[in-house]
Symmetry: C2
Subunit: 210 residues, 2 copies
Amino acid sequence: MVPAPHDHHGDVRRLVLDAAIAIIESDGAESLSMREVARRAGVSHQAPYHYFGDRSGIFAAISEEGFTLLAQAFRDVDFSNTSPAKAGFIAYLSFARKHVGHFRVMFRQDICGVTDNEGTATAASSAFDELLQMVARTIGSSVDPTAAHTFAFTMWSHAHGLATLVIDGPLPQKLLAGVSLDDQIDAVINLCSHMVALEAAEMGLVPSQS
Amino acid sequence: MVPAPHDHHGDVRRLVLDAAIAIIESDGAESLSMREVARRAGVSHQAPYHYFGDRSGIFAAISEEGFTLLAQAFRDVDFSNTSPAKAGFIAYLSFARKHVGHFRVMFRQDICGVTDNEGTATAASSAFDELLQMVARTIGSSVDPTAAHTFAFTMWSHAHGLATLVIDGPLPQKLLAGVSLDDQIDAVINLCSHMVALEAAEMGLVPSQS
DNA sequence: AGTACAACTTGACAATGTCAAGTACAACGA
DNA sequence: TCGTTGTACTTGACATTGTCAAGTTGTACT
């Protein structure tokens, strides 16, 4: 007996999601068409609507998954070899480059409405919580929460700006001559980490490495 | 005599561009439809094609204008009251918040192909040149070019990440409680600037303000 | 007067997002 | 065993979109 379409179950959802992520990764978020997604997933053009409601629903789902993955990536960081700040930067960058499809969507609330969607919002919050913990490793946990928050926000900005410029910006192709992109990224990460270390040292919480 | 449509001249181009920027500013880049732009500009649905070729052409034009405006904003920075780094961060942030429509497009080469378009590429290069000059004010001009480039890249990442998170990210609505967004931004800019100053001091080029 | 060109407009078409209405199967209570 | 309910889709239809092709209208130059 031919397997009924019912045998898929949650399968189709995953298929649709993966097809969407692949499209975003290769052609960008605007190029994502519901019908193309359906076609690649081998389902009717309405199947995606069943699971995601509409186009922005699919983006919201990808965004949620992205923040969950990011939180996990933060949790998996190995702090044994480098400073927490540098390890964090590296983790963020490698997450962004590994999950371009997710990353392109996660911070675009014009298309996925992070704040409108509850699941996405909590996933984002939990990723930020992990970030705060990493910050605590850098500047200690005795700093007042507002300052810690500012520090976290700052580190996030550093990492996010770098990732964004690398992935979608005009930097990789044009502005760097003679030096490989990876080397440039390393140099920037090193500089960032060093600046953070200096700041932390000045805050009197970590011995300066001079 | 009714004014002939011809009397517009370059006018229509400007009208179309402004309509497009307004749409992007309020609804994001994906929501931009050529026909809606034409409708708002009060022209036929094909007029925009005459000037911009296709949808990505309009994005490229906005991007080019954006980079030109950014370069100008860098040129107009007043360095008399603050450190060059801080003045630069403030300039970048206020540019991004003032020209959201441009900013949303400038770094998205998936939709406007910065590198494909010559005008956009040169505008972007000239903005980066201005940035390099600002960096020279911070770390001196005797540093070797590669290090200066890394420093510029780093500062750009800081500023860009902050701007991106503020404008499109999940930050403004969710993650900051009790403190106004502007105050948070100020705090981050101050921290960034301070870190940059520390780094510059350590490079031995500017006296530490300890 | 005639030709060339810029600056549009009108018309057409395939593809898209989405609403509405079906269909098929599984699970459950009577 | 039968009907009901719900899920997981599919098919059909429609307005809207990006874009190609073919006008039209005025301006500039020869």
